[in-house]
Point group: C2
Chain length 122, copies 2
């Protein structure tokens, strides 16, 4: 089986605690996914590091042949529709043999309503 | 029992489709919650309307005596920590008899990891 990794992509914040929330979430996701993925990394579109290309290059350096980019965004705006694919394209140009796909963004999940309800009754 | 409503608060976007996603989510949440709440409204911090105070005043005009504000935000930044409470305070000053509370923001839910995993395997 090809070695597969995930890059959880967030916007990136000047507030370090917000970036740390993303790191913790990546760890949580790795724990939940178990052996499905070789690793779950973080990548940030702006402000914070590593950047999306850096995160992807790291996955490739660690032997991943397939990478799923998972956008931690609430809406299908320009960042999700254009900016993230453009940054992925920079990496694909140098590594055409690596399969990089983009999962649906967080806000598109049909489970979000249930999560919101749990916050109201919790 | 006091009449209770929910105001789902999002940032607000210049992209109308993003605001419409929030409206759809409020409808989904209302359907999931069933009779728990008299209504689920939307309110936007910036750019889009109704504003948070407008949404709260609407709930009160419709008879709600208790309102839960639910922040549709990924991180505990300035918007969640300061701006939303400040806008609620404008309403509380005029309606001290109405109980307005703030639920945990979306990104704080322990279910987010599971939602992300579902996007990877879906």
């Amino acid at each position: 089986m090809l070695k597969r990794s995930v890059v959880l992509v967030a916007h990136g914040s000047r507030r370090e605690a917000s970036n740390e929330e993303v790191y913790r979430l990546a760890q949580q996701l790795a724990a939940l996914a178990g052996p499905m993925f070789a690793a779950v990394h973080c990548g940030f579109l702006e402000i914070a590091s590593p950047s999306i290309p850096e995160a992807l290059f790291n996955c490739i350096a660690n032997g991943s042949r397939e990478i799923i980019v998972l956008p931690y965004f609430l809406s299908q705006g320009r960042h999700v529709a254009e900016d993230i694919p453009a940054q992925i394209a920079l990496v694909t140009a140098q590594h055409p043999d690596i399969k990089i796909s983009i999962a649906p963004y967080l806000g598109s999940s049909p489970l979000i309503g249930t999560v919101l309800l749990s916050l109201l009754v919790g």
